[in-house]
């Protein structure tokens, strides 16, 4: 069993010219958990992961695996497995040859090549040129490279992209299994719904800054009440008089500060007949979008 390793990001920043891609980012990823690394496209997720992996030099700050930077790892592929978004292979090579090269460079037994290709479901295509692979097969090949060294840490950048529903279910189960074995799993995505069933913790960034770190239940899922009446004007006045906060929409008035029972009581006291009274759950996705500052945009 691989060692339990914590990912530690401390004050990490990256400027590209005058553009700040990542600013003073700090978070921790614990072993035995699946941590979702979320943010809209362009939030700095891939840049952060590439700094963690020694591919991009940080402007300041550190990113380490239990205190050791990627560059200083004695056996990188056996410590950290990586599947990055970009398709990184020569189209003329077979999957077997592709993995075999990196097994050689990292002194990993060649027997692992066939084993991981079998594990990701590419067993029947090992000798086919990668140029002919579908997007889903390439994603699986990327995962096979990540698993090659049987690492204790997995860094997966948008692994769900391009997978069919069956593949998405497979990778969710797969990540859960890896974490259950005590591994540290960091998985990025721009959609919470893609990963919310498989992650234990969330790290959310927006415009290169941390906006949330914690459990799913900690996300603010505010409930609202939709209410309407044939006499909209009277309902409006009654709610105003009761000091309710609300907005008016085509689908009725959306009250954000009260429960449905309180709104119903106000209506009864004012003698307003209601045509609609409904509690609306904000939902995780809405909370996520509010966090990254895209919820209010039309």
């Amino acid at each position: 069993m691989p060692n339990r390793t914590t990912i530690e990001i401390r004050g990490l920043s990256k400027d590209f010219g005058s553009v700040s891609a990542v600013s003073d980012l700090s978070f921790t990823v614990q072993p035995g958990t699946v941590t979702g690394f979320l943010g809209p496209n362009g939030a700095g997720k891939t840049t952060t992961l590439r700094m963690l992996l020694g591919l991009v030099r940080p402007t300041s700050g550190t990113a380490t695996f239990g205190g050791t930077s990627y560059r200083d790892l004695r056996a990188p592929l056996a410590t950290v497995g990586t599947a990055l978004e970009a398709a990184s292979f020569h189209p003329g090579r077979s999957a077997r040859n592709h993995l075999s090269i990196y097994a050689t460079a990292a002194a990993i037994p060649q027997a692992r090549v066939g084993a991981v290709l079998e594990q990701v479901g590419l067993g029947a295509y090992v000798d086919r040129r990668v140029g002919g692979y579908s997007l889903g097969m390439r994603q699986r090949l990327g995962l096979a490279l990540a698993l090659l060294g049987d690492p204790g840490v997995l860094v997966l950048d948008e692994p769900v992209n391009g997978l069919d529903p069956e593949g998405i279910r497979w990778i969710r189960t797969f990540m859960r299994e890896l974490a259950a074995e005590g591994r540290t799993v960091l998985v990025s995505s721009h959609l919470l719904s893609e990963v919310q069933q498989s992650v234990d913790r969330l790290v959310v960034i927006s415009k290169g800054r941390l906006v949330y770190e914690g459990g799913l239940q900690g996300l603010d899922t505010e409930t609202r009440v939709a209410v309407d009446s044939p006499d909209r004007g009277m309902l409006d006045a009654a709610l105003l008089a009761a000091g309710a906060e609300f907005t008016s929409t085509d689908a009725g008035l959306i009250v954000s500060s009260m429960t449905a029972a309180e709104v119903g009581a106000i209506a009864q006291r004012s003698g307003v007949a209601l045509s609609l009274l409904q509690t609306q759950q904000g939902g995780l996705e809405q909370a996520f979008l509010d966090l990254v500052g895209e919820g209010s945009q039309p």
């Binding site: 891939t46 592929l77 990184s88 040859n97 990196y102 050689t104 990292a106 002194a107 490279l145």
Partner: protein, 271 residues
Amino acid sequence: MNVFALIRAEFQKVLTTRIWWILLLVLVVYVAMLAGFLGAAFGGSFGSASEVPPVPTEQLSAVIYSVATAIGYVFPLMLGTLSVTGEFRHQTLTPTFLATPRRGRVLLAKIVALSVFGAIYGVGALIGSIGAGAGVFAITDLDNGLGDQDLWLLFARSVLAMALWAAIGVGVGALVPNQVAAIVIVLAFTQFVEPILRTVASFVSWAADLGNYLPGAAGDALVGASIYGSLGMAAGEATVVEWWQGGLILAAYAVVATVLGYLIAWRSDVT
């Protein structure tokens, strides 16, 4: 992370794509055709002697066989260049640096592995030029010179030159990561710029010695014979440098290109 594992990985990278044997095949055929043609021309089997620049007979075989390097050097140079630019183009630098985050070691392993391939190209090109050249000599009833020990030393230096050319290619690739740009630069420099500079240098007295420092001239000096020198294109007033000096100049090109490439492109962010 031992160095030999990295060198073996670089070998695998070359062997698992097709370009290495395509280039080798073209090299051998091209050099054989040229050597056969020149052997026939200088050997006097066709055309009158007055139409062809005279080459002393004792040098003829060396000049014909050295077509392997004088003309063929662009092939190991190209293979070395492509071995680096291909990594940029197909974004395989990402898995390469993930497996070996110490990037300098990867570049060193590449130079060693590609130099071996350059040497293999050298042997292949010599087989082509000697095979075709000696064949023509046999037909025209001339001495093929292969009994001469100096000629075999020339062959050994030819293999060394081809290895150095491949190493220069690695440096060029690191310096110019854009594959199309690198190919254009290599072809334009070797096929037009350098031949013109060498010819000009041979006619301008103050530039004559400088011409020796051009990479192609240095390569020819290392080998010790060249179709350029024999046709008087680079003769003029230049003092011809010793073979080991030519070798050092060629090696210096490899080192300078690789160090600059490392500093400029190889170390930069992989995004």
